[in-house]
Structures are given as C-alpha cells and as structure tokens.
Amino acid sequence: MGRYIVRRLFYMMVVILVVSIITFGLMHAIPGGPFSREKALPEETIKILNERYHLDEPLWKQYVSYAYAVLIPHITTIPPSTSLQDDFLVNAQIGSVWFRWMNFGPSFKSRSRTVNDIFRDNLPISAQLGTMALIIAIAIGLPLGVLAALKQNTLWDYFGMGISILGVSVPVIVLGPIFVWVFGVALKWFPPTGWGAKPPYLFGFLPSKLGWDFFKYAIMPSVALGLGSSAVIARLTRASLLQTIREDYIRTARAKGLQERVIIMRHALKNSMIPVVTILGPLFAALVTGTFVTELMFGIPGMGKYFVTSITNRDYPVIMGTILLYAVFLVVANLIVDITYAFLDPRIRYD
C-alpha cells in the first residue's frame, strides 16, 4: 500500500507538470497580451510593463521562473513585505527564519491583488459551496438509492428513480433560474443572490459564523448544484445494491438468521458501495466545475468569475493558478477514491 501511494504521488506530479506545460503553452499562444486594450496603450508603456512582469523573456525561461516561484520554498531572514511580487501562500516563522512557499504571482488585471489573494478570499467560498453541494448530493442520493433498491418495483422505486432522472436532466443553468424565480422572487424564502460568509475564515475556509445568515444564501445554490450529482449517486447505489442483495453471502447471512437491518447495513451496503465510490472522483470534478455556473447564476463571489474572466483578460498568473488548483484537486480526489477502494474491498491490493 505504501509503495502504491508513493508511485501514485509521483504519477500525480507528472500529471500536474504536463497540465501546467499545456496550459502555459496554450495561454501564451492566444494572441493579444494582458495589456492589449480596446484603445491601444503606447508602445513604450507596453514595453515597460512587459519588462516589469518578465513577459519579454523567452517562454521557457518564464515557465521555469514560474515553477521556481511556486514550487521551491524560500528560506530567508527577511520578513514578508507588502509587495505584490512577494506574496506567498505559506508563511511560517521558525525562530528568526522565514519559511515561505508557493508564490503564484500578481494578478495582471486587478492591480492591487495577487493570485494568492484570490485563493485566500474567493476560493473558500467556492469550497463552501462545493462541500455543501457534495453533502446534499450524498444525503439525498444515498438514501434514495437504497430505498429504491430495497423496495424494487414499488411506488418508492418509481418515485426515487423519477427524482433521479429529473436530477440528471436538469442542469444547474436550468435549475438555477427556476430556483431564483420561485424561491427568491415569487415566494421570497431566500435572497436570490449573494453569499453569507466573508473573510476571515475558520481554518482558512470554514465560515466563521454558521447560522441562518449563512444558510439562507447557501441552501438554494447548493441544492441546485448537488441535485444532479445526487441523481447519479441514487441510480448507481440502486443498481449496485440490487446486484449485491442477490449474492450468495447475503443468502447465507439470512440463513443464519441475522436481522434484516444488520444484513443490509453490514453486509449488503458496504459491499455495494464500491462502484459508488468509483464515481465520486468524476462527480467531484463535475461539482468543482459546476461551481462556476452556480456562482455566475446566483451572484456568488467565488472563484468562478475569475476563471472565466482571466482567460478573456489574458491574466496569465490567474489562468495558471486556477487551472493548477483544479487539476491538483482532481488528482488528489482520485487518489483518495482509489485508497478508499482498498478499505472497502480488502480483495483489492495495490502492489
């Protein structure tokens, strides 16, 4: 297991490296730079700006210095300054020595912010939204699937599967406006736009106050985002559980007179979770990208806006930062999923 994880970690790094190279190449291949304007700036100004941000250097050199700033920890005795060029994500002080790591650079578009500022202020909001949506997806999807499987071909089953096909067929950009209008405008249950948490955050991403002021903003977007995923979970859980309860060992468990509840909870459910865990990886990816649409739809100040605008603005550090962040999220999620397998199914051995 240990060797497997080490190998996977190495493989993850290769993936991230390739993703970063492709993104870097592609974004620099898009014509126009971060300082192209409708009304063109004087050539001199652009030249000075390019020099300042090292955009006049050859591409490989820019890439190497970017990778250096992000990856290599800086160990200095100089305390952090307020310069935009000198903003690290990790700042740890050990004695008089500063251990500083991950400088994603300044944003070209908003002159007073760095990519790390975006990570600190806006990423937590996206993370809160994504986490809430994931909780909702599992909280709705799992019981619905189990119920449908245990009461196969009854009204419960049809109801559960009906809900789930609804969830699969109605994407956020459809559900979003419906929710906004029905619950936000017509019934006035929830505020139609906005978000209820502001920095500073607990542990860097949790809202500092969890109350109605947070949930009244969070409920609509999280349900809109999570419903589609809950449908996927429900369908898979149902299919998998139906297969499992026909296995021989379930019959054995019944034969030795175990309680139905114990049979379902301990024997059937745990074994039927393997295929469900498989899709948690892609599901997580869908939720992460889904947060963009949801944020745009509900006016939530998360990362989504930055991702889309950074590309049209040619804001190179923000493009790189956001794409790398998502890529890291996805590969880590996949790794966790694979490790969970081994826990659920001892027959799976990674060597």
């Binding site: 699969v168 067929s169 950009i173 649409v293």
Partner: protein, 341 residues
Amino acid sequence: MTQVKIESAILGSGGMPLTQKRESLFQDSLRRLVRNRAAVIGGTVIIVLILMAIFAPLIAVKSYEVQVLVDQNVVPAWIIKVFPTMAPYARISNDYPVGADYVGRDLFSRILYGARVSLAVAFIGPLISLIIGVIYGSISGYFGGRVDNIMMRIVDILYAFPSLLFIILLLAFFRSTISDIQPGTLAYAFSKLDEAMGGLFFIFVGIGLTAWETMARLTRGLVLSVREKEFIEAAHTIGASNLRIMFRHIMPNILGPLVVAETLAIPGYISTEAFLSFIGLGVNPPTPSWGAMISDGAQTIRSYPNQTLLPALALAITMFAFNFLGDGLRDALDPRLRGTQ
C-alpha cells in the same frame, strides 16, 4: 406464425423456445426498445424537436434576429396569468406567442431556432468523440503491450485536465487566433466555416477534443475483452489482416455498449454547449442558443422571468428526452442490465 408471436410475447427475451423464428440481434433490441414506454416518449419528443428545428422557418412567424425596439420585453396576456408578479408593469402585446426579449426579438422563434444548435451538438458531438475515441481505443486495445501502455498514459493525463476548463481555454485560443490570420490557409478556412456555422464549428472541435477520452477507454476495455475470444483466433489462423479483424470481427461485437455510452453522454454535450453560450464563449450572436438566452434573461429574471424560464424549459425537455432514450437503449441492447439499472 401468430402462435409463435404470442409465445415470444409471453416468454419475453429470456427463455426462447427453439421453435421460435430466429431474430437478428437488431430486431430483438428494437422490440425491447419499443416496449419501453419512457424510451418511446423520449424518442418521439426528439423526432418532434428535429422536425421543429428543420421546419423552423415555416413555423416561426417572426424573425429571430430582427430587433423591434418598441416591443422590448412585451409579453402576451397569458404569460401574465402564469407569472402574476409581472402584472403591474408589463406591456402586453399578443403579437408575440411567448413574448419578446430585451431588444424586442421574438422569443418563440428564438427558442425554435435554438433547438437547431442544441440538436446539432447532440448529433455531431457524439460522432466526433466516437470516431476519435474508437480509433484510438481500438489501436491501444488491439496491439496491447507497450503501445497500449503509452497510449493509455496519455489518456490518463488528459483525463486529469478539467475538461470544461480545457474547452474554455481552447475556445479562447481558436476564437482569437482566427481573427488575425491570412486568407488561403487552413486556419482561415476553419474560421470561415465557423462563421458560416454561427460559431458552432469550434464548439464541436472543443467537445470532440475533450469527450473522446472516455470513449477511448471504453473501446479499449471492450476490445481487450473480445480480442482473446476464439473467433478472433480463428480469423488470425486463416490469415485475416489486422484491419479486417478490427473492422469485421471486433467492431460489430463492441458497437452496442459504445452506442449506449454515447447516447447517455448526449445530455452532457448539450449542457456543455449551453454552459459555453451562457458564459459567452458559445455560438456567435445573433444565432440563438438556449444557453445564451438563459444568460441574457437571467439579467432581468426578477422582472421578466419568461425570458429565462422558457428557454430553460426547452433545454430541460430536450435533456429529458435524450436521457429517457439513452436509458431505454441501454436496457434494450444489454438485457443483462435490465432490472438492475
């Protein structure tokens, strides 16, 4: 003859008596598909949508692009009944079946023409990803060994790329590269083609370039499972070429699951296009797309909900139809899954 038919209807596809008329795999699947009510409804809705999209110029009374500024945001009387909050301020004009948008274009004909975009994506998207994915996956699966290893590692890496973000990046790249290229080159031809298709061409390319990975993996797995069968060995012994074995012997055996997977992926392609149009990277205006209409309407959703909710409804109905048909196709082509999925 009738006797046999009744018998087969009673016995279903499970235990077929030997006396029964032989059915081809296709007929058998078709029969099962037709018996699935949800799939039939889905299929019917899709056919109606296709007809509406084709005959849009005949059905739509008004143009989808002509802006009548005096008719901005007007609604017909029945809309007020559905959305009573609009009563105090809305201007009523029964000239428009479902109202006009913020620049006074007929919403009904825009929704109608919007079906063209979504359906085009629904049919071309799978085609592209199927072609690339099947070729790539079958080469990888058929030759195996080192080739397989390298080809699959490449897919793994591309898979880690968040695909929606990749499409956005690609579209930004295509759209802006094209604006300053010389006539006579291939890129110029592409840009002209894209212009002629209202911006759809690059959406196809974007979807095709990201969606093939799943198909490639699936194809490879299927090829691997068929490759070791006796009839392939037999084909090898009588000296059939690799190409012939791939297309004549392997392909027919793996096509079913591939078609099912693609049908189930269609709603995803449709929503990808809608999403791209929603963030303004989709079709070029004034080509109507449901995603773009939802995005435009979302600005005024508090005052004119019909401008967002109607295209959203059209999108949802289309997605429903494809999901129902996809589910039915899977059950019909792969009866082992019936009752479990």
